[in-house]
Symmetry: C2
DNA sequence: CAGTGGTCTAGACCACGGG
DNA sequence: CCGTGGTCTAGACCACTGG
């Protein structure tokens, strides 16, 4: 997997974010698009693509006829739900030091409902991966991942499992990961979960992600359930009016 | 508020959605971009803008060198979290008949935390709006909205309040609504809420949206908290890898 | 009115895949 | 290889705001 040069749009995005972090636009105002494009040596279209993405992320906002401005609220958003990021990064963005504990990797029977979502009703067992993510010393995320074992085409070690499953798939399953279809569910933690996450007794309500991962052929290849200590890990997103 | 012609991109989007609904692409395959653009009489750029949006919504997926395809999973997604839609529409998308009950509209003191988020610490009271949304006969969403009363510049009737607050703002407050910054929170329903939503005694865990609405000048103008019966209203979204 | 962002076009070239 | 989608450009015109 070689990295190719990030697209111009990506580079412009990163460049502008950098300048925002450096508080270069002290009054919160961007230069006109034409000037900025010329300065960066890209077409206005390319610059505008980057600006549109930054606006969708809540970093800036634009007003026709008026200008482009740095958004104050956008700076508060630690997480953008519609983007998949490693849980370690998520924890780091919240200001903690992340650790992963690989609790278990086993092939075992699972509920029919899980298998159905993977179009794997005929399989008896799935590969079940359990992980615990710590923020400092505090467990904050617990995840269970289900993978049909027949997808795996190369031998792997536990270390290969420690990272996100969407990194594992292309490397060991000849599957390109495309997207998660995620359902957000509130959960009253059962004792085993409260135990695993070392929840204080008065805090048993958690946020959970119920995810189905699809490959680039739009076939479901993996399912996962993740539980979050929402009091420590905040899930925020920017919502806009549908057109 | 006059409607202007929807942009070409919007029109193309709607047109393609329509053709997908009509199952016109039986094998799930789109024509090549160049052909489709010519057929629709738009430039390839315009067509591609529409396709990109449809892809982001999970309706289609594209593979370089291979083609553009209708996504199966995308058809299952009833809700896209990053888009604001009226709760009535949300309920209808779930196959129920929606009703709104305006429970109360009162000016009253609120917690300092709410006022702080609205930069209204110096106000003693805010306008507090409580609504209940039914799916058929079943209460499924309860919402509380907080609005600084001094924003209102025109007299209004209760009927003007029944709709979404982001429609009220431009009409009665001379404020253009821009976006919500939303935090997703799991909640163990207190008795008053379980009562309002007529929850079965074993179902007290709810999903809540904690929202701050911003105007086009990026100033907070409204706060809202909505509680969802997640067993009846599913909140799903498509998540993609961050670039 | 001048200056800003919003929309749309035609055309070029690149990267990837197996119709 | 050819055909697909991916990227980028230069330029035109429109819509809106009050620098």
């Amino acid at each position: 997997m070689l990295r190719r040069t990030p697209s111009l749009v990506q580079q412009v995005k990163m460049h502008l974010k950098q300048r925002i972090r450096a508080a270069e636009f002290a009054d919160g105002r961007f230069p006109p698009e034409a000037d900025l494009a010329r300065e960066l040596g890209v077409s206005r279209n390319t610059l505008r693509d980057a600006l549109s993405q930054l606006e969708a992320e809540g970093v800036i906002f634009r007003r026709q006829g008026a200008g482009t401005f740095v958004s104050q609220a956008g700076l508060m958003v630690k997480t953008r739900l519609e983007e998949i990021i490693p849980y370690e990064t998520l924890i780091r963005q919240h200001g903690y030091n992340p650790t992963v504990k690989l609790l278990s990797v086993r092939q075992e029977p699972v509920e029919p409902e899980i298998k159905a979502g993977l179009e794997a009703e005929n399989l008896s067992d799935l590969l079940v991966i359990k992980k615990l993510f710590l923020a400092g010393d505090t467990p904050v995320i617990f995840s269970i991942t289900y993978l049909p074992p027949h997808l795996i085409t190369r031998p792997y070690t536990p270390d290969d499992i420690r990272g996100p499953i969407y990194r594992f798939l292309p490397r060991f399953c000849q599957q390109e990961f495309a997207y998660y279809l995620t359902e957000i569910v509130p959960v009253d933690a059962p004792p085993w979960l409260a135990d695993t996450l070392q929840l204080p007794s008065h805090r048993t309500v958690l946020l959970a992600f119920d995810e189905t991962g699809y490959n680039q052929d739009d076939r479901p290849v993996v399912r996962a359930r993740s539980y979050f200590r929402h009091d420590l890990i905040r899930l925020r997103l920017v919502r806009r009016l549908a057109v």
